[in-house]
């Protein structure tokens, strides 16, 4: 017998058994990361999701390796056959352990490669020290898991026990640290060094136990009359437990099936319930004390427990083909599906709701539930059920019980990554996402029949693949539908815009913001306002002189202030005090000239918002100019100059056309170079507008939508008729998500779109975003009448 050959073959067998997991785990991890990379929103978590996935992936393997290598062989009884061969038990134990180490090392290498790659292309990981505890912890978990798997008869119980034991080194480190740092006032985390030291010790202890338990499991039985504490059911039944005939006669299959499921998976149910309760307790403590721990074990426990509960829905019957018993008796798949889901869902719901209620009691605000607890709580519970939904699906699709227990948690992260991508980048509606996230329930419901009959043919896999595709892609449908069918900018308009942009006179030069003196903010008494305001006018003039760029304003405030100067000055003209009159007259003239010049400077701005601000200035000026005092105050020459500018609709048209073209050009070129669609068009914020113009949509769709709106604006800007058609106004209003009253439609419209400056004008709400609502309204005709009174 060739010893070396034998060891080689054993290695081959162990690694071959680990292969599915070694392939599946990294693949899913990469899939998740790819989804994450599409999603640009990296500010969501403290450390990016990709890091979490690749830290968790070897961890999951460590948790499941014991169950896979030892537990599964025990369940399949192949370990007995292996032990009947002429091979020392130690050899079997050691090679299994060594193979597990190799597997874990491979996964860490893969993770390491990912981190290296990520550091090159993305922000490097800052705190290496903090993360260094993970690898050593994973090795500890690996050894502990294997030791437990040798010791405990039931593979599932062994798997559950690994999770609490995984925390032991960290807890020990905490204790040690607390003892050593007892005199420190502030709570600090134990240093990574301490934690790692504990983990290394843990590894050594676990390795020793692996050897011990493994050898004990494989060596000849020494029959002891020990307590069958952790023995499985068959052992206890040998001693003759009463059959449940004493429960009475059950008439309908529903309660019987529920009883069967509960009894069958009681180890798992109890284990996961404990995990959930512990997690809930930790959460409540954290919530009550507002502390924040670096490693959110409680969330991890919740997530793991929920995922395992989900996987158990179908895995519980898959083991040993137990479902055949029910399938052979012709039970309805609907009933089976229902009774498998009820118990785990009830467990989760009960604990979650209880926690939520308790949280509202123990929260920092006491009995008053803190704001947001309701929504946060609902969101958390919804997330749990999403995890459950995907895990129960994984549990049905993956046939091997141990592999499904290990992979289900990873699978249930997919919806979070995929859907956050959908929402953030593609702007999918939340309703659609909710439906998609719970579609796996439908998928398993429809496949229950085949699962029961164990008919896993090509058709089954195709169907499941189809469900997977629908579940992941469904939220993206609206986006792609829109992308396919919504019109953008017509080629004709695009050419026209390009012509305007190409004109060397139309240089894209961003406006300089006009700044007002602080003094203007405070209303001084009537006596000194003249001086301050004259100073203000001077300051504005100097700003005009300082640059040849267009002038722009970001809010209405400055305009209103300057218009107020003008108005007050104008009103003061009616005062009979002649000494005051001169100053006021001068102020009035100066302010009128300033306003007129300001309009000219603003009209050169490429921003549409500046055109609209200029419109509101001109409207006020027209009103002022129609007053009889104005003509006298300004003098004929000045009056004619100002009136000429006001009457120049053509100039306004040119300015508007140019601004639309340049605004579009600006948006277009910004859009090309950034991953996120630009958030402004022509100075107007796109965030709240219309049906998703902002960054919430994918760049492509946003671009197309803004293009169409730009085209509508262009059409209106280039209008040269008498009255803008109502449909155009309506369309612009709906384009930008603005109430049509602002565009003069409907009752009250006349207060917003100025057809006659004599009408009382409603003060527009701050930030109304009513783009282009004054274009070619009646006031322009009145402006022309200033110069040509006959019209």
């Amino acid at each position: 017998m060739n010893n070396r050959l034998m060891i080689q073959r054993l290695w081959w067998k162990e690694l071959r058994q680990l292969l599915p997991m070694l392939i599946l785990l990294p693949t899913i991890a990469f899939l998740l990361t790819a989804l994450y990379l599409l999603n640009d929103n990296s500010n969501q978590f403290n450390w990016s999701a990709g890091v979490a996935v690749f830290l968790g992936m070897p961890g999951l393997f460590a948790v499941g390796a014991g169950a896979l290598l030892v537990g599964q062989e025990k369940e399949m009884r192949t370990i007995q056959w292996l032990a009947s061969l002429p091979i020392r038990p130690q050899t079997i134990v050691r090679i299994k352990t060594a193979a597990a180490v190799v597997g874990l090392a491979i996964l860490w290498v893969i993770s390491g490669l990912y981190f290296l790659w990520r550091d090159r292309y993305d922000t490097p990981m800052t705190d290496i020290g903090q993360f260094s505890v993970w690898p050593t912890n994973s090795f500890f978990v690996l050894f502990a898991g294997i030791a437990i798997a040798w010791r405990i008869k039931s593979a599932l119980v062994a798997l559950l026990l690994v999770v609490p034991i995984a925390m032991v080194p960290y807890v020990l480190a905490l204790v040690l640290h607390a003892m050593m740092a007892a005199d420190e006032y502030y709570y600090t985390d134990p240093s990574p060094g301490t934690v790692i030291a504990m983990q290394v010790i843990g590894c050594l202890v676990a390795l020793f136990l692996v050897d011990r338990f493994g050898r004990a499991a494989l060596s000849p039985e020494r029959v002891r009359l020990g307590l069958p504490f952790l023995a499985n059911a068959t052992n206890r039944e040998r001693n003759g437990r009463a059959a449940p005939a004493s429960y009475g006669v059950i008439q309908s299959p529903l309660p019987a099936l529920i009883w069967q499921f509960a009894m069958q998976s009681r180890a798992l149910l109890i284990g996961t319930s404990i995990m959930l309760l512990v997690a809930a307790a930790m959460l409540l403590m954290r919530y009550a004390s507002r502390a924040n721990s670096v490693i959110p074990f409680d969330i991890f426990l919740c997530y793991l427990a929920t995922s395992w509960l989900g996987a158990s829905v179908f895995q519980s019957d898959s083991a040993h083909q137990r479902i055949r018993f029910l399938a052979d008796r012709g039970l309805s798949p609907r009933l089976i599906w229902l009774t498998r889901q009820i118990v785990p869902i009830t467990v989760i719901a009960a604990i979650a709701i209880a926690t939520l209620l308790l949280a509202s009691l123990v929260g920092p605000a006491g009995l008053k539930a803190s704001p947001g607890l309701g929504t946060m709580g609902m969101l958390a519970i919804a997330s749990l059920f999403v995890v459950f939904s995907f895990s129960q699906w994984a549990g049905q699709v993956i046939t091997s019980p141990i592999v499904s227990m290990v992979v289900a948690p990873l699978v249930s992260i997919i919806p979070f990554t995929a859907y956050s991508f959908s929402v953030v980048t593609l702007g999918s509606p939340l309703g659609l996402i909710s439906i998609a996230a719970f579609l796996p329930f439908l998928a398993t419901f429809l496949s229950t029949r085949r699962w029961m009959d164990r008919r896993f043919g090509k058709r089954y896999w195709f169907t499941q693949g189809g469900y997977a595709a629908i579940v992941i892609l469904m939220p993206t449908f609206p986006h792609f539908m829109a992308l396919a069918f919504e019109p953008g900018m017509s080629r004709q308009v695009r050419k026209q815009i390009e012509t305007v942009v190409a004109n060397p006179n139309n240089v894209l030069r961003m406006p300089v913001e006009l700044v007002l003196d602080k003094d203007v903010e405070n209303e001084r008494p009537f006596v000194s306002f003249v001086r301050t305001w004259n100073n203000q006018i001077d300051s504005v003039r100097s700003q005009f002189r300082a640059t040849s760029a267009p002038i722009g304003i970001s809010s209405q405030g400055p305009i209103l202030k300057i218009l107020a100067i003008n108005l007050m000055a104008g009103m003061s003209l009616q005062q009979s005090d002649s000494a005051v009159s001169d100053e006021h007259l001068d102020l009035f003239r100066r302010s009128m000239e300033l306003l007129s010049d300001m309009v000219v400077r603003m009209r050169t701005s490429p921003q549409v918002v500046d055109q609209d601000f200029a419109d509101s200035i001109e409207i006020a000026m027209v009103r002022q100019m129609r007053r009889t005092e104005t003509r006298a105050a300004l003098g004929e020459e000045r009056y004619k100059l100002v009136a000429a500018r006001l009457a120049d609709t053509q100039a306004r048209r040119d300015a508007r056309v140019r601004s639309v073209a340049l605004s579009w050009y600006n948006y277009d070129s910004q859009s090309k170079f950034s991953r996120v669609p630009p958030s402004q068009f022509g100075g107007y914020d796109l965030q709240g507008g219309g049906d998703g113009l902002s960054w919430k949509n994918g760049k492509g769709l946003a671009h197309r939508r803004v293009a169409r709106r730009a085209e509508n604006l262009w059409r209106m800007a280039d209008f040269s008729g008498d009255e803008v058609p109502k449909e155009w106004l309506l369309e612009v209003a709906s384009d930008w998500g603005i109430v049509s009253t602002y565009y003069g439609l409907g009752s009250g419209g006349i207060y917003y779109r100025v057809d006659s400056v004599d009408d009382s004008i409603a003060v527009a709400k701050k930030g109304s975003n009513a783009i282009a609502n004054q274009w070619y309204a009646g006031w322009e005709k009145q402006a022309r009448e200033l110069l040509y009174p006959s019209n």
Binding site: M1, M76, A83, L85, V223
Partner: protein, 307 residues
């Protein structure tokens, strides 16, 4: 007779194994000679598997000793397993391996030549080498297990219920392999319920009941010496004297006016003696089948309606 070498391949002496709640073996003795097919019979739960596990070193007995091929299983289990082939009841093989792969894998545990013999066996049984074990039928799986167990040409082959649930053709093949091994001087220990098979191939038979061996004897002499005697009486209350020794009553059942007994060493004189007694209508003597011997050992006395 053929086998000159009568040295015992298996020697068991006062072996006792107790589990919580039951005593599986209560001090049994056994000698299995070389070159024979030795059958172990017993009801389910009689202790056959326990005995086999003790012999292969999977179990440490509470007291007593056993030696397999001269070695002590509690000490040299590994060496025993190298020289013994063992097919368990419903053997669990790695069902993800292919037929060829598991042979290749197992060959590394034994000397050279294993793989060739294994492949030869597999092709003789007609099992496709490239199919995964999980896709094999029950019979094919049993054949693979058997092929694995004999490929290293063990001196002793232990079969624990090898043919339960298999079709007659497969069972036949198993019997042939057993005989094959014996023809070359090897030994086979067979634990089975298939009495018909045991009758065909066994040299010696040991019947285990309630943790003790009721019978350990060569099949030929057993068949020769055990008879089934049916006595018709005029009246159920008629008593019969116990037959003179060396006749032993193994089982005794009464139904109506008839009594049926399985007896050992019941000769024609004893039969005539009974015929002459008053109240005895008739005595029929028949050679007992192994089935009936087994039932007699296990059931003992009682009314027919007790079963």
């Amino acid at each position: 007779m053929s086998n000159a070498n009568q040295e015992a391949v298996i020697e068991v002496s006062q072996l006792t194994v107790s589990f919580p709640g039951c005593d599986a073996l209560r001090g049994v003795d056994l000698q299995v000679p070389r070159g024979t097919v030795f059958a172990l019979l017993g009801e389910n739960g009689a202790g056959k598997t326990t005995l086999i596990r003790a012999l292969t070193g999977f179990l440490h007995p509470n007291s007593g000793s056993c030696r397999v091929l001269g070695l002590d299983p509690t000490v040299e289990a590994l060496e025993i397993r190298r020289r013994v082939g063992y097919v368990a009841d419903a053997p669990a093989l790695y069902d993800w391996m292919r037929v060829g792969e598991i042979g290749w894998f197992t060959s590394s545990f034994y000397e050279a030549g294993f793989l060739d013999r294994y492949r030869e066996g597999i092709s003789r049984y007609g099992v496709p080498e490239d199919r995964k074990i999980r896709h094999l039928s029950k019979g094919q799986r049993a054949k693979v297990a058997l092929a694995l167990a004999v490929a290293h040409d063990p001196e002793l082959l232990i079969l624990d219920e090898p043919t339960s649930g298999l079709d007659p053709l497969v069972r036949r093949e198993f019997l042939e392999s057993m005989l094959d091994r014996v023809a070359t001087g090897r030994t086979v220990l067979l634990s089975s319920h298939q009495i018909a098979e045991v009758e065909r191939v066994a040299d010696s038979v040991a019947i285990l009941h309630a943790g003790k061996f009721q019978i350990i004897e060569s099949l030929a002499s057993l068949r020769d010496s055990v008879t089934e005697v049916t006595v018709s009486l005029d009246d159920p209350l008629v008593q019969l004297p116990l037959p003179d020794s060396p006749a032993i009553v193994m089982s005794d059942r009464a139904e109506g006016r008839q009594r049926q007994m399985v007896m050992r060493g019941f000769n024609s004189e004893a039969a005539d003696q009974w015929r002459g007694r008053p109240g005895v209508a008739g005595v029929t003597v028949r050679s007992a089948t192994l089935d009936e011997v087994f039932a007699a050992c296990v059931r003992g006395n009682g009314n027919a309606s007790d079963e």
